[in-house]
């Protein structure tokens, strides 16, 4: 049953996706404020996988070179949050945020902080949404940028520390005609997942009780 606890039902998946979409739409709002243009973010799918599986998923089309923004969080459940892009997509993302008028050198120079800030916005938005749903606070660290392959990002060798499960979300960006595809990964241990599932259930129950009022 241990492994079964980590599985999400279809309803849970849909609920999580909705929560995530609420989060990223917040982030999109923030990004729009920042770049001054329409930003579309969406989370088409959600799943819970092992770190190894997550590592394979992020490398599926882009072996090795990945860029990630990482923030750790503490609260009702704890863990690490990662916004992951293939390296090439990250540059595209940065260019879309800072503008096409910048030279390649500028883009490269600004990549680090722009990526960190963008990641910070998106991850904050997602986690904040979850915290909102919980009506609890969650402390989140400042973002850092890490590079490497899937195994490095998911600390596959790291083993037990921090748990073995990953809440894995696909995320699509559309900014200024640039389409960027990335991933959001929440690395959590089994208790954290269990709590998350409980939260999701509460959320589903809440929706069931108040079908007419939808959280905006």
């Amino acid at each position: 049953m241990k492994f079964g606890a980590s599985e999400l039902s279809e309803v849970e998946q849909d609920a999580l996706a909705e929560i995530a979409n609420i989060g990223v739409s917040r982030a999109a709002n923030s990004l729009r404020q920042m770049v001054g243009e329409q930003v579309l973010l969406s989370v088409p799918a959600v799943s819970i996988v092992t770190r190894q599986a997550a590592s394979r998923l992020v490398e599926r089309d882009n072996p090795a070179k990945l860029v990630a923004v990482q923030q750790s969080f503490e609260g009702p459940f704890s863990g690490r949050a990662l916004l992951i892009f293939p390296e090439a997509q990250s540059l595209e993302l940065v260019r879309s945020i800072i503008g096409d008028e910048h030279s390649l050198e500028d883009v490269i120079d600004l990549e680090h902080e722009a990526l960190a800030e963008t990641g910070n916005i998106i991850l904050n938005a997602c986690l904040a949404t979850i915290a909102n749903v919980l009506r609890r606070t969650m402390r989140m660290s400042l973002p850092s940028v890490i590079r490497g392959d899937g195994a490095t990002l998911f600390d596959v060798q790291g083993g037990a520390n921090g748990g073995n499960l990953v809440l894995f979300l696909y995320i699509d960006f559309t900014i200024k005609h640039h389409d960027v595809h990335g991933f959001i990964a929440l690395l959590m241990d089994l208790p954290a997942i269990t709590i998350l599932k409980a939260i999701v259930r509460d959320y589903i129950d809440a929706i069931g009780q108040q079908p007419s009022s939808h959280v905006g």
Partner: protein, 801 residues
């Protein structure tokens, strides 16, 4: 100790910080504002405490800072807002310059109250420094890449275009935003090669280049040499590619390739063997015809390997000519035999011209053309010429021989004429002398002393007569009684005498073919000739030897290549060969000349061979002497065969044996232009008791006939100026057919075989011979012989008349 420290108030610390701190409560009111903030914002702590942050900085309302602050209070999240992505606070540095800053938003909890801490970091100095650095770097960089004629495109390792220069826009027809973020493949027609190279497939290192087909926005294509360099920034790998448009070059190369292909096709289509060589002379190409002819692969003949197929005899010369051409840059032109695959050699004309596109020889273009037929024709022509020359030489030699023969025969002819003339006159003189001496002998009384002198004079004159006779024989003016003679009879008849003449030390052999035909010759003269030859042979063999007489039939057909000229006809060859000492060439040349002799003075007359030669020639044949010193001498006579009519009559004597004189006194008309001869003859006639009327010419004689018809006999000389004796005789006979006429002739004065119809008296004659002639004509008893027939018919007519 520790308790004391824990009570330390942090407010002074915040004011001492070199960064800004702002603390907001859950309603957004400012509850904390350190001194650094006061310095850079121009708002003191007192003026802002309790105020809403967005009232102090109204522009912040449009930024994402409010959301970040709310999240930090509501959720507890931390946020980073950078100056590069966000328009933040209007802060100024000490010098009034804009202060670049980042803001970190963090949640703070104090009991149940929640606050938000804003930390404002001054990044003006590092950012400015970086900007200056980057701008300086960019200025240099752009100076290079913007002025570059080549398209410069930077991509990430996966081929995503990150940057391009102005030339790239022009070359490909895209504006930068249309390309940045797209894959490099959009610029390529089939771009795997370049994409792999960009990804670092290892096959293409830094500085290397690959050739690609580029595609412009208008779908036009072009050729590019793409060189690339990989570089990395922040662990990210980029590749900068430089695109050199080589479309023109490619077109030129394609044209060149096509030209070379055409050139090659031409070389391979030529029927000749074609080869090319580098400037140094090393051959680098042989066309298929060469390979087919030699039967060896082209590789075997590269460099100077081709010399192997040159005929050994031609190789050194050809190599020297080739090296000479190479060193002087002149056209190479030589002929040589080349070894064919089947081992045969054929002649080729080797020709090569230097190719010097800009004055310097870069290549040699050579052909080898089969000229075997030509060479053979040339050789054949040369052979023909040689044969022709040989033929000319042979003909020239033959002509010289013929000319020599002609010269010899003309010489002999001239000598003969001279000799004949001299002999004729001597004959007359000898006739006078002999006549006078015989008369004198009669007239003088018998006295042993005078009679001995007289006999000596008569013998000397007679020997002179014999000599002149031989001279005349050589001059072919002797009187020949040509008749058919059977050698099978004649030669054995003279053998006894001949053997005696040559002596016992010499053996004589006869080799007469039984079928030898009769020849037409004067028998006496032929006997004399054989004797002469035998005596010559004897003299050539003082120590003895053998003498062979051979007789064979020969026809003109067999005479080809004979050393003498003979008309066509049938001949009999008589060869008299000895084994004696022979003759030198010099001797041989003169052997037939009269008076030439090798015998001691007094031993020979030098007329023997001359006489034989004259006899053969007069008889219509020829004589030849073949001799070599020490190898004997062979004298060959060719005598014409007798025709059927010649065989009819046996030989007879011109003058019949003397009969007694009639004793009758005659009136004789003596005609002779030579008064001395005439006088002498007149004396002899008168001594015989006749009366003589002398005439000095034929005209004179005719006058005398008219004036004195009582003449009994006419004796006339043959050779006279004006009308000759024969014509005179015929005239007289026309009017006086019964008158006896005697024709006195020197030897051979008459044409050979002339049918005179008159009795003839040979000069010089003695009184007895004169008397006999008179007797004969007067006896009216016709003698045998050709003229006898005439005489008879004449007399027959007389008797009839």
């Amino acid at each position: 100790m520790l308790d004391d420290l824990s009570e330390f108030a942090l407010a002074p610390v915040l004011d001492a910080l070199d960064l800004g701190t702002i603390v907001l409560d859950a309603h957004g009111r400012i509850v904390g504002w350190n001194e650094w903030m006061g310095r850079v914002s121009g708002f003191s702590k007192q003026s802002v405490l309790g105020a809403n942050l967005y009232d102090v900085f109204p522009t912040l309302r449009g930024s994402r800072l409010p959301a970040a602050i709310e999240d930090s209070i509501q959720v507890g999240s931390s946020s980073v807002l950078t100056h590069s992505l966000n328009a933040l606070l209007p802060l100024r540095g000490e010098n009034g310059q804009e202060l670049l800053h980042n803001i970190v938003v963090r949640p703070i909890s104090s009991g149940r109250s929640r606050y938000s801490l804003l930390q404002i970091n001054d990044v003006t100095v590092p950012v400015t420094r970086e900007r200056v650095l980057r701008e300086r770097q960019n200025a240099r960089y752009h100076a290079i890449v913007d002025s570059a004629p080549d398209a410069i495109i930077t991509t990430s390792a996966d081929g995503t275009i990150q940057w391009l220069n102005g030339a790239a826009e022009r070359v490909f027809g895209y504006a930068p935003p249309q390309l940045v973020g797209r894959k490099i493949d959009v610029l390529l027609l089939g771009g795997d090669k370049l994409s792999n190279a960009l990804a670092g497939d290892g096959a293409h290192g830094a500085g290397s280049s690959i050739q690609v087909v580029g595609r412009r926005q208008d779908d036009e294509t072009g050729y590019f040499d793409v060189s690339f360099a990989r570089w990395s920034a922040d662990e990210r790998v980029f590749v900068t590619t430089i695109w050199r448009d080589v479309t023109g070059r490619m077109a030129a190369e394609a044209a060149l390739r096509e030209s070379e292909t055409r050139h090659r096709a031409l070389l391979e289509a030529l029927p000749q063997l074609v080869w090319t060589a580098g400037a140094g002379g090393g051959c680098d190409y042989f066309n298929p015809q060469w390979q087919a002819y030699t039967g060896a692969a082209s590789e075997a003949h590269l460099g100077s390997g081709w010399l192997k197929v040159i005929h050994e005899a031609d190789r050194a010369g050809l190599q020297a000519a080739w090296e000479s051409s190479l060193s002087q840059g002149r056209v190479f032109d030589a002929e040589a035999r080349l070894h064919r695959f089947d081992g045969a050699y054929r002649w080729f004309k080797m020709r090569a011209i230097p190719v010097a596109p800009d004055g310097t020889i870069t290549k040699w273009f050579g052909t080898a053309t089969d000229i075997t037929d030509l060479v053979e024709a040339r050789n054949s022509l040369r052979r023909n010429n040689e044969e022709l020359e040989a033929l000319v030489a042979e003909r020239t030699h033959e002509r010289e021989v013929a000319l020599n023969q002609l010269y010899e025969s003309q010489k002999m002819e001239t000598i003969g004429q001279l000799t004949g003339g001299v002999a004729h006159d001597f004959n007359n003189l000898l006739a006078v002398i002999l006549g006078s001496l015989s008369l004198l002998k009669k007239a003088l009384p018998e006295d042993p002393r005078t009679s001995r002198l007289l006999e000596g004079a008569i013998q000397g004159a007679e020997r002179g007569a014999t000599l002149t006779k031989r001279l005349l024989a050589f001059a072919r003016r002797q009187e020949l009684k040509l008749e058919a003679i059977e050698l099978q009879k004649l030669i054995p008849d003279v053998m006894d005498f001949l053997r005696q003449s040559v002596g016992p030390s010499i053996s004589v052999t006869l080799d007469i073919s039984p079928d030898v035909e009769p020849v037409k010759i004067d028998a006496n003269q032929l006997e004399l000739a054989l004797m002469n030859l035998a005596v010559n042979a004897r003299d050539a063999m003082p120590l003895g030897g053998s003498l062979t007489i051979t007789c064979r039939n020969e026809t003109r057909r067999d005479l080809a290549g004979l050393p003498v000229a003979l008309p066509r006809g049938d001949y009999v060859r008589i060869c008299v060969a000895d084994t004696g000492e022979g003759m030198s060439k010099a001797t041989l040349v003169k052997a037939m000349e009269p008076f030439f002799t090798t015998k001691g003075i007094g031993k020979g007359t030098g007329l023997g061979l001359s006489m034989v030669h004259g006899l053969a020639a007069q008889a219509g044949g020829a004589m030849h002497i073949a001799s070599d010193l020490g190898r004997g001498t062979a004298v060959t006579l060719w005598l014409p065969r007798a025709r059927q009519e010649d065989v009819a009559q046996p030989a007879g004597q011109p003058i019949a044996a003397a009969t007694n004189g009639t004793g009758r006194k005659l009136r004789i008309l003596l005609v002779d232009d030579d008064s001395l001869v005439s006088m002498n003859t007149a004396y002899m006639l008168m001594d015989l008791g006749h009366s003589v009327l002398e005439a000095t010419s034929a005209g004179h004689a005719l006058q005398l006939f008219e004036s004195d018809p009582q003449l009994d006999v006419m004796i006339t000389d043959y050779a006279m100026p004006g009308m000759n004796g024969l014509d005179l005789a015929r005239r007289i006979r026309a009017t006086r057919p019964m008158l006896p006429i005697i024709l006195a002739t020197g030897y051979a004065e008459l044409p050979p075989h002339a049918t005179l119809g008159f009795p003839r008296l040979g000069k010089p004659y003695t009184q007895d011979e004169l008397a006999e002639a008179l007797d004969q004509v007067l006896n009216a008893s016709p003698p045998q012989g050709s003229w006898g027939t005439e005489f008879q018919s004449a007399s027959g007519r007389a008797s009839a008349g």
